[in-house]
């Protein structure tokens, strides 16, 4: 007998500490919702929620263990009901419950669901059992159809958005590396600007620009080009000779 009592005491201590953890987790969750409801994001919210549910799971696991004393067989008896404020009770419940009176005892010491809730649950269960297998599978099929339809709609819109954003990215392209290279090469080395470079190579080096004609200068007439030495005659024929080539 004494051993059982000891066991029960140990179990109650364990449960109390677990309940305390649960209480703290719930408190933190409430605090988060109260103060950070504008900034909180789903991942942190769900993390908190997972914490609470893990505490609950631990508690129910402990209750289902074999060596747990059957607390179902124990009875809780309200020994003293009074309509006055009980200071000790206020302290024990951290200010949540000031009075232990007749009207609130059923709520706090309840071991079965509220009768109205129980009725509704029974109703639902009856309804669920009434449906035949065939009807159920039909409904599942219908539901799947609706879900896949919605999924199609969403993925279509997503594709459209992606196309749009891709299009926007293309439009923001403002410079072309190839063009930069072309331009820099052209002004630095003349690549792309020398259209008649093979002809230039043929020009004799020793006698550069026999008749220098200044562009746009009114003094010297281009007519003088006619008296070119015969050595560069071919050049004059092949292209319009540049005055400095």
């Amino acid at each position: 007998m004494q051993r059982e009592e000891k066991q029960l005491e140990m179990f109650l201590d364990n449960s109390l500490s677990k309940l305390k953890d649960l209480k703290i987790a719930i408190g933190q969750m409430i605090q988060k919702i109260e103060f950070e409801h504008e900034t909180i994001n789903w991942p942190t919210f769900l993390d908190n929620f997972a914490l609470i549910s893990s505490h609950l799971a631990g508690l129910s696991k402990m209750l289902s263990l074999e060596y747990t004393p059957p607390i179902r067989n124990l009875t809780v008896l309200p020994l003293n009901l009074s309509p006055d404020v009980d200071e000790r009770l206020v302290q024990a419940t951290e200010g949540r419950l000031p009075i232990f009176a007749a009207e609130i005892v059923p709520d706090y010491l309840r071991t079965k669901p509220d009768p109205s809730a129980e009725n509704r649950m029974n109703l639902h269960e009856a309804k669920a059992n009434a449906i035949t297998n065939e009807a159920a599978s039909k409904q599942v099929a219908q539901f799947n159809k609706i879900v896949s339809h919605v999924f199609d709609l969403i993925s279509k819109s997503r594709d459209e958005w992606e196309m749009e954003s891709l299009h926007r990215n293309v439009r923001t392209e403002t410079c072309n590396q190839g063009d930069t290279q072309t331009l820099v090469k052209a002004i630095a080395l003349g690549i792309g600007l020398k259209t008649n470079s093979p002809m230039m190579m043929q020009q004799p080096r020793g006698v550069p620009g026999q008749v220098p004609v200044q562009m746009g200068s009114p003094g010297i007439q281009p007519m003088q080009l006619g008296k070119m030495p015969s050595s560069i005659k071919t050049n004059i024929k092949s292209a319009q000779l540049h005055p400095y080539r």
């Binding site: 072309n176 930069t180 600007l193 220098p212 562009m215």
Partner: protein, 221 residues
């Protein structure tokens, strides 16, 4: 390119500097390009960023001819890069009184991976229109020529040009983009200015990516 809008103070300090033999002969350069359709956005941004707000953008229309001088006697020299001299003048009739410009640009300095900009020596000399004849008489050969039309902005000592390069024969644009150059002339050792240029180039991203481009590295041969 005209220089008549250059602030007097800058001109004075330039003269003062040349008196004591401080010559801005190093060019710090960053280059990039922008597609024709986007150039208005860039001009708008430059208008906001640069100094000459009331006159910007200053337009220019230049002609540039590049002459080469090779040492014919030396067989080996034919295979090395020739000395290049650039002659530039404005095509704008309003600038007909402005001198022509002869420019020598050196090779980009090596071993400057840490430096944010390209650095090369650079000499500008004003000259008369007869420079073309003079160079030809000296044995220089016209390598290539082009016309350039675009916009000029100033930010402190930095010069920003947004310009289109045309082939001189048919005035056909060389590419579908404008060349964007950010340059600054400074005396030897004024490396701090490169950092200013990097910061400025950063402000034009991602519209234009201004980079240091080594001309020798992109050459096909």
């Amino acid at each position: 390119m005209t220089s008549e809008n250059q602030p007097i103070a800058a001109m004075d300090s330039l003269l003062q500097a040349s008196k004591v033999n401080i010559i801005p002969n190093q060019e710090y350069l960053l280059q990039g390009s922008i597609l024709d359709v986007q150039v208005q956005r860039l001009l708008h941004r430059l208008k906001g960023l640069c100094d000459n707000v009331e006159t910007a953008p200053e337009q220019f229309h230049d002609y540039e001819a590049c002459f080469s001088l090779r040492n014919i006697a030396d067989e080996q020299a034919i295979h090395t890069a020739p000395l290049l001299l650039r002659v530039r003048r404005s095509n704008d009739p309003a600038d007909s009184h402005m001198p022509w410009q002869l420019r020598y640009v050196g090779n980009p300095e090596l071993g400057d991976t840490k430096r944010p900009t390209l650095v090369r020596s650079c000499f500008d000399i004003s000259c008369s229109p007869s420079i073309m004849e003079f160079l030809t008489e000296m044995g220089c050969r016209l390598e290539f020529e082009y016309t350039v039309r675009g916009y000029l902005f100033r930010k402190g000592r930095m010069k920003i040009t947004v310009s289109k390069i045309f082939r001189p024969m048919n005035q056909e644009p060389l590419s579908g983009s404008y060349l964007v150059e950010l340059s600054l002339l400074a005396p030897v050792g004024a490396d701090a200015v490169a950092e200013d240029m990097r910061v400025f180039a950063e402000k034009l991203k991602p519209l234009v990516i201004l980079e240091k481009i080594d001309h020798r590295r992109i050459a096909p041969n």
